[in-house]
């Protein structure tokens, strides 16, 4: 039986016999080993190890959200874990440079032996996508087949199970919708905010019109910018318009969650909102780094294969290029930036509310 005090050795603990012995060069089976096939195998194994770690972290973050019991206290933990995912993603992106030391000609030495294996067959990467919030019908298809058909029956079932659970998108949306501060006593956030936007716009418009320092053309442009921004904000904070935008497929995040995210951005200096603000930022960063990873992956494939078909029979680079934009999950968060106005124009929070958002120690 295992014992806490048994002597553990680095080699056994890390199961290096398995890890270090799992590189079989197919080129060697049919003639001379292609020197670069080792790199090809090892870097993909490294990717899969990191994917496992990412799934471990995101899974742990999701379990924090479970049962809608995501207390403010847990937010810090979620931020910490997503931050680790971010550091891993930076490595995933940077190490593409290692693979790029393999030239197209060197790849050709063993590429034939890999057909029809393909990165499309990375089950763990599919899990990452689903856990983030990618929905089956939003997926880019390749070779006109369902993405999951390349997996074993067991793996397909597991994918379906994971798909049926809350993704990070779902969990964050529900959590945002539970934000209690949108209506606090008399304070109605949306109403106050729109009033502030109007006041600011009116003041600015008047100032622009009365200045003598800029040309009429310039005035006109500035006023157009002001008006468009105002119109955009009013439209975005109108529930009916928002829901239309959801129906048309342009928007995914619910109205309430969007407004809560806006409030968190605006009042992030209040102690209780600081960690939620960090959480939204970390999610955006994870999402953008997956996007950047896809972009760099696509650049690398183009350099390696040009317009050749991928080993999986798909038009490799073309497929990847489409996923860069389409498999981007939290695009709606970018909208929040468009809705912000300067701090000095923000509606002030009621004193009692401010107290609630502070630490008990400061009362």
């Amino acid at each position: 039986m295992s014992d806490k005090y048994s002597s553990v050795h680095y080699t056994n603990y890390l199961q290096l016999d398995k890890i270090i012995d799992a590189q079989h060069l197919r080129s060697g089976d049919f003639g001379e080993e292609a020197h670069d096939e080792m790199l090809f195998i090892i870097i993909h194994q490294v990717y899969e190890l990191w994917f496992k770690q990412i799934i471990h972290e995101i899974g742990s973050v999701l379990s924090l959200f479970k049962d809608n019991h995501f207390e403010e206290k847990m937010v810090g933990d979620a931020v910490h874990k997503l931050n680790r995912v971010i550091e891993i993603q930076k490595i995933l992106i940077d190490q593409i440079k290692v693979l790029e030391t393999m030239t197209p000609l060197d790849f050709l030495e063993f590429r034939n032996y890999l057909i029809p294996a393909s990165g499309f067959q990375s089950w763990q990467f599919r899990v990452c996508e689903i856990r983030m919030g990618l929905k089956p019908d939003a997926r880019i298809t390749y070779n006109k087949t369902v993405y999951s058909s390349v997996f074993s029956e067991e793996q397909q079932k597991e994918l379906a199970r994971i798909q049926s659970e809350d993704s990070l998108f779902d969990a964050v949306q529900k959590w945002l919708e539970r934000t209690p501060f949108l209506q606090f006593g008399e304070f109605d956030f949306i109403k106050e905010y729109l009033k502030a936007v109007e006041t600011m716009t009116d003041r600015e418009r008047e100032a622009i019109q009365s200045t003598t320092h800029i040309s009429d053309h310039n005035k006109e442009m500035r006023i157009r910018m002001l008006d468009e921004t105002q119109k955009y904000i009013f439209n975005s904070l109108n529930e009916e318009e928002h829901n239309k935008s959801i129906e048309s497929g342009e928007t995914r995040l619910s109205f309430k969650a969007t407004v809560a995210a806006l409030l968190i951005h605006l009042y992030r200096d209040e102690p209780i909102l600081r960690a939620p603000y960090n959480l939204l930022n970390k999610i955006t960063e994870v999402d953008e780094l997956f996007t950047l990873y896809r972009y760099r992956h696509m650049q690398m494939v183009l350099r390696m294969l040009g317009k050749k078909m991928g080993t999986g029979g798909s038009s490799g680079a073309e497929y990847l290029k489409k996923t860069v934009e389409q498999h981007h999950i939290f695009q709606d968060f970018q909208k929040i930036a468009t809705l912000l106005i300067p701090r000095s124009d923000l509606p002030e929070l009621p004193k009692e509310m401010k107290q609630k958002l502070d630490f008990a120690y400061n009362q």
Copy 2:
């Protein structure tokens, strides 16, 4: 008079009085200084300093090509300088992270004071684009105005002058066209290469058809891949077809230059072709890093502004997104990868030719 032995001080040598004193926060003119405006100014000044260095290096590379006197000896120098550009570009991309520590709300504190200044007004970046090979009619326009209209008359003239000179694209194309090895005595590279492609394809096709280890579906897919690749190569190495593709705007690189680039890729192990191969690779990398820089720039703008109009009045992120693909200069180099076949199938070079490509010392 300046003297080699006069005492020079770090502060004077670097003209730090100018450099360190060139940050004037406009927000301070109209109220309180916005803390983050300092970062905004300094990071853009850093960008401009690096742009100056890139222009210095690319200019120096171009002067090596001048008068069509680009000896093999100079290739090493060009590689070295482009490698420096690459290291600089990595920094340009990585330091976007520094700017991303500025939040959208913090940007709003001073953004109004910047209108209508804009990154579109970076003259040096335009020079970088032109030096690389961007042609006026290939530019994405914004605000329906000519890109150069934001510059002074003198700057516009200078841009026109630079545009009239050979760009890196022009210089590399001419140099490739001068490659003497496409026809060497009896050896006609294109003819030999197409023969080799045919032999390889025939052998592979037959092997696939006769194997019993894969399904008919799989066989069919593999044979389709083979056939498409063969057809693609034959089409690409046909001068007439190539010229049609140039006329239609799909391709830019001349036929002769394309074939020379292919030869360099295939026989890069011959001593005299090693540096040219490195040169083609470095150019590709510089080109891709400009592309990646634009992509990251666009991501950052989206995060900072969402869908707001840029300070220059353009739809900032939208414009940048279009330039990512459109301002990509050496796209035709990617095609080369598609034309390669494995080393073992390459036509062997005549012995006398191999000798010529080697060092004199080894004769």
Copy 3:
């Protein structure tokens, strides 16, 4: 007069006329311009711009601490600003690679013209060091002269003034000393913690002695580790011993500040301690990145100059090597890690205290 709505242009706003015109190649004064002198000038100007930004951020952090009015609310702001410093420092380190594209032989083309200018004459870097907390008597000297003697009288006065103000080390120490939670009603943190350490050590020692799974040699080693750790902790949390260690110059951070830092590390999950924990971490990271920067700088100088004297007449690399360790300010923070015990063995905080550390909203 300046007007908010006057038309501002990128070139003027960034004062590019100054920035881009401040590169004068001394090699050109005495013959041919050395190509690489441009890089040498520009990269040092970039360094100085970033130093200015770092001073801006650290200065702003220090002003938050002023008058001992550093409310919990401000901690988040300090963390944010130090995080920006960290992102800048990463760039400072990474861009050494750009300078390393200059070979020793290329440096020799203009090195003679720089004597006796030297990086020792970077006034802003001295300010960074002082702001971090480097004391005059802790400085490594070079050429047996006072470090400040290379500056103008005015600059020397300014350095003395800055030295007389609170450094980040001073400010953080005072802030830690003000931590109110070391004694909370009946709860005496040190007493409770030492008790917990003892309990844990006794339990572990017994378990080790009674196991049959490990060799006597192994047992002995483990028990020795346990005992040493216990002894180390008891010694460290003894005020008298701590003060002796300060007198001997081994330690710099005061006893009270050390204990407060320990408490923050142990109970970082309590909402009110989360930001302070982040602050301590960011400070450690800034400190370590300065250290790493010095280390990389030293590596680069060794590669460029070998054992040649620096242009300032000092034994360049040797000096830099010594500063790597000696100019490391927050070394005492590393000690905290040695004092930690596992979460499950921590003394529980009194309920009333836990409430005080939580948000008012959760009461």
Copy 4:
């Protein structure tokens, strides 16, 4: 039997069943799984995979040198492979940041279960060190035991075998010693070079003495610098002195190899010396990156453990710190930079020699 055309699947090809299933959390055996133990296991597995790749590349480079048949043609291949090692090393260093997302307190949750496993037990890292050229008697010892005693008998034998083969240091030294250009007909490189150094020094000394632009103090310092450099070069290029320095343990690289490395640095623009110059540079970079990796590793251990003993029972950080300098293999290459003089002062190569160093095509 395996067949080229059998259908290979990504999962099988990469043996993911082994790779992804090799993470067993010991903390789970004794209670609750510690969340961060997964990261600890996975990152170390990733390190071992990369070590395998590095060993693959360095082994391949060494085989190129075998039997003293290292033709100029192979140099390019060696450079290419070392360049890949460099890109991997950058990742090894950067991913330390991922491990640093684990806090000391989180490490304590499972650290006890790892005793006495330790990074000292990484067999592959020992192989890397030996392949680079670390000799048994130059090793820092820890716990007063032979480093190899932690390995199985079989592993120890294998280490001994590897130690008995030529390391990269040995191979490069032999190759440098074979350089045929130190004596070329009448041209005696050392003699010519020392003459050039003397001419340059005399000219500079006179110029300094006769200038009126600098103070006597400054003159004296400059002349001292000149004299010391001259003395250093004459001493270094004296075989007898060099051999004394080898006997005293200060130097390792043989006299002939040192002189050849100097020649390659000085005349690197000659076509045949370009690749050798790149090779020396890549070796230096690999060596420095191992050094930097050790330094960062040490920083990380200090942050994680402070002054606690490592799980292997050693004074972890202390040991690592010593290896940073001591396990640095190619230190003598840094000396080359000290021996250089500006290009314009170099002795010109005889015309016939220059021709031999050029491509046959240019004759």
